[in-house]
């Protein structure tokens, strides 16, 4: 049992960091200025910063998704929840509410969406992929209701600052992603929550019999996923200074799942790493940026992602595990 944090990072994290290094190296080869940084008005600028900034929403989604996948579930609704929360934030900003009220409302809506998903999964015992599908289908309709079918734009200084300002020289979304990641990692690893999540992922029935309150843990997990989706939705709305119910967060649920899988979290539940999911999100964004920089059509992105998933599936599969075991023995 490798339950200590340093142990996990030093041994199991090698493939993820190697992949990230390889992708960054490839970017540097096609675009020699890739690692150039310059400081202007107390802010860093450069391709690497751009990768971090663009990758922040997926990284934040991946945080919640990691915990959900660790319980052997999946949350398909995060993109739609992003759209709902972005719509709420933008509509309130257009009506000139204070920033605190806007953030509180957006987060509350996100938590409520998560609670709904958790209720379907934990209490009604519906398979996660289908339970979250309901909100994925209806979510964009609800977001359209909130914005009354329009693309709401706003000039709210406070809300624009959420994505537009910077701290410690880094763009605000990057700081938010880092702080959330560390906070969540601390929450699950310094308390028993992480262990409970893993035990539910391995065997929910057995965990329940062993005294784990799996219902509450599942509810909490899906709520965290809803909250992270709300944060990502507010950042996305702040970034474009408006809410587009049709396109905000579109397909980001798939990128978030991919980030988690690249980060080495097992799809079979029971093994996860929050910090490696952040690395996974970076790998994906660095690939996107690399394809753009190298002048290939951005459409190639999807095929590259498909090949990456397929490669990881082959490596993760029990069949490959048996093969490796066989080779090691012989």
């Amino acid at each position: 049992m490798t339950s200590t944090l340093p142990g996990r990072l030093s041994f199991g994290a090698l493939p993820q960091f190697a992949t990230l290094a390889a992708v960054l190296l490839a970017n540097w080869l096609v675009f020699p200025d890739f690692f150039d940084l310059r400081l202007q008005d107390g802010r860093l600028f450069g391709s690497v910063i751009d990768v971090l900034n663009r990758g922040a929403p997926v990284a934040i989604l991946a945080l919640g998704m990691t915990l959900v996948i660790a319980t052997k579930g999946v949350d398909l609704s995060v993109g739609a929840v992003m759209a709902i929360c972005g719509a709420v934030a933008a509509t309130m900003a257009a009506a000139d509410y204070s920033l605190v009220a806007i953030l509180a409302a957006a987060l509350a809506v996100g938590a409520l969406c998560g609670l709904w998903n958790g209720f379907l999964v934990a209490v009604l015992d519906i398979q996660p992929i289908i339970a979250t599908l309901i909100l994925m289908v209806t979510g964009r309709g609800i977001a359209q209701l909130v914005t009354e079918g329009q693309i709401v734009t706003f000039t709210h200084e406070g809300l624009i600052a959420v994505a537009g300002s910077s701290a410690l020289g880094l763009p605000m979304p990057v700081v938010i992603a880092l702080v959330l990641g560390l906070a969540l990692a601390a929450l699950v690893r310094l308390t028993a929550l992480g262990l409970l999540i893993e035990s539910i992922g391995v065997n929910r029935t057995a965990s329940t019999y062993a005294g784990v309150d799996s219902r509450s843990v599942l509810l909490a997990t899906y709520m965290i996923s809803g909250l992270t989706a709300a944060v990502a939705g507010v950042i996305a709305a702040s970034d474009i200074r408006g809410a587009d119910a049709n396109n905000a967060g579109l397909w980001l649920e798939l990128d978030a799942i991919l980030a988690v899988v690249v980060g080495g979290t097992s799809l079979f539940g029971g093994r996860f790493s929050i910090l490696l999911s952040l690395v996974g999100a970076l790998v994906i964004q660095a690939m996107n940026t690399g394809i753009l920089l190298s002048g290939y059509p951005p459409e190639l992105n999807l095929i590259v992602k498909a090949v990456v998933i397929a490669a990881i599936l082959v490596l993760q599969s029990p069949a490959a595990g048996r093969l490796f075991g066989f080779l090691r023995r012989s």
Partner: protein, 325 residues
């Protein structure tokens, strides 16, 4: 057995009641023209949903449906523009999509991975190939194509059954026969009911799994052909999210998401209910189109809830039987 058929009858009742309510408000809803259009407008969804029914019956899921539909349209448009005969292009693309499905089925079986992640990769891949072929919407313009479009059967009192509506009905009928009257159908139900028992009883798991996803690929390709006939164009961004509509249709049609229970006929009614909601919103004229999504989501929730209740009741009656025997 009655509790097994209950979801299907519930769907049928919902459909009939919904249509009656619509007809009470708009008497024109009862015309055969509206009925025929209902089938024509949802033909691509219906064809894809037949394949999805088999996948879900076996306890799996196929997220690549929408992308494969788009791929088929783009492939047809590009190859026909390049001078290939439409009939040859159609046959070629059906072979490609069938093989694509078979590969996904093989990966699911031999890598022992969840179907949703394999078909997710397939979804990315097919959509990516679309984008690589073209990002434009390409019209399909060929005498043979026009000939295919002009095929239709007149129904008395003004309705017109188009070729694509015919394809959907044919696909549903073939699906019903395949599910209930062939050995393959029995294997699918057995696999979804209990994989381990099925394997012990001698069901060829590998062959059946690959065949199920190949069938879904083939029907997605056929749905793509229907969609291309419907729009007379191939567009790489077409049919996004159709996989969700098909899953919703299958579930509303009474197929149990855990596999093993359900009917192809139910799926047909599920597709018609979704089409009816859309038609009602068009007839009404004041409601916005996003109400479709909300209504479909609401129905999805109600039917999943109904399934849970039925499964729960079935489990209770089984528990009561155990001590008695």
């Amino acid at each position: 057995m009655t509790s097994r058929n209950l979801p299907f009858f519930a769907t049928l009742v919902v459909f009939v009641v919904a249509w009656a309510l619509c007809a009470a408000q708009f008497p024109a809803m009862l015309s055969t023209r509206v009925a025929a259009n209902l089938i024509t407008d949802n033909a691509y969804l219906g064809v894809a949903a037949v394949g999805m029914t088999f996948v879900i019956l076996s306890g799996g899921i196929d997220l690549s449906v929408g992308s494969v539909i788009a791929f088929t349209g783009v492939f047809l448009a590009v190859t026909v523009r390049a001078g290939l005969d439409p009939i040859a292009a159609i046959l070629l693309v059906l072979v490609i999509t069938t093989a694509f499905g078979a590969v996904m089925g093989a990966m699911i079986h031999y890598l022992e991975t969840p179907a949703f992640i394999v078909t997710l990769a397939g979804m990315f891949f097919a959509r990516g190939v679309c984008f690589l072929m073209t990002t434009d919407s390409i019209p399909i313009d060929h005498p043979t194509w026009d000939a295919l479009l002009s095929v239709s059967w007149k129904i008395p009192t003004g309705g017109r059954l188009t070729l694509i509506a015919g394809i959907m009905i044919a696909a549903t009928l073939v699906g019903i026969v395949l599910a209930h009257l062939t050995r393959f159908g029995t294997y699918v139900y057995a696999l979804g009911g209990n994989r381990t028992s099925a394997e012990l009883m001698g069901v060829p798991i590998a062959r059946t799994t690959i065949a199920i996803y190949a069938l879904s690929g083939a029907l997605s390709g056929l749905a793509g052909l229907v969609f291309a006939l419907y729009t007379s164009a191939g567009y790489s961004l077409a049919a996004t999210g159709v996989e969700l509509d098909t899953i919703a249709a299958v579930v509303i049609g009474g197929t149990l998401l855990t596999g093993g229970v359900g009917t192809v006929a139910g799926t047909f009614v599920g597709v018609m209910i979704q089409g009816l909601i859309q038609t009602y919103i068009i007839f009404d004229g004041t409601l916005s189109s996003w109400w479709t999504k909300i209504a479909v989501g609401g129905l999805l929730f109600v039917f999943i809830l109904l399934q849970r209740v039925l499964v729960h009741l079935a489990g209770r009656s089984r528990d009561r039987l155990v001590p008695a025997t």
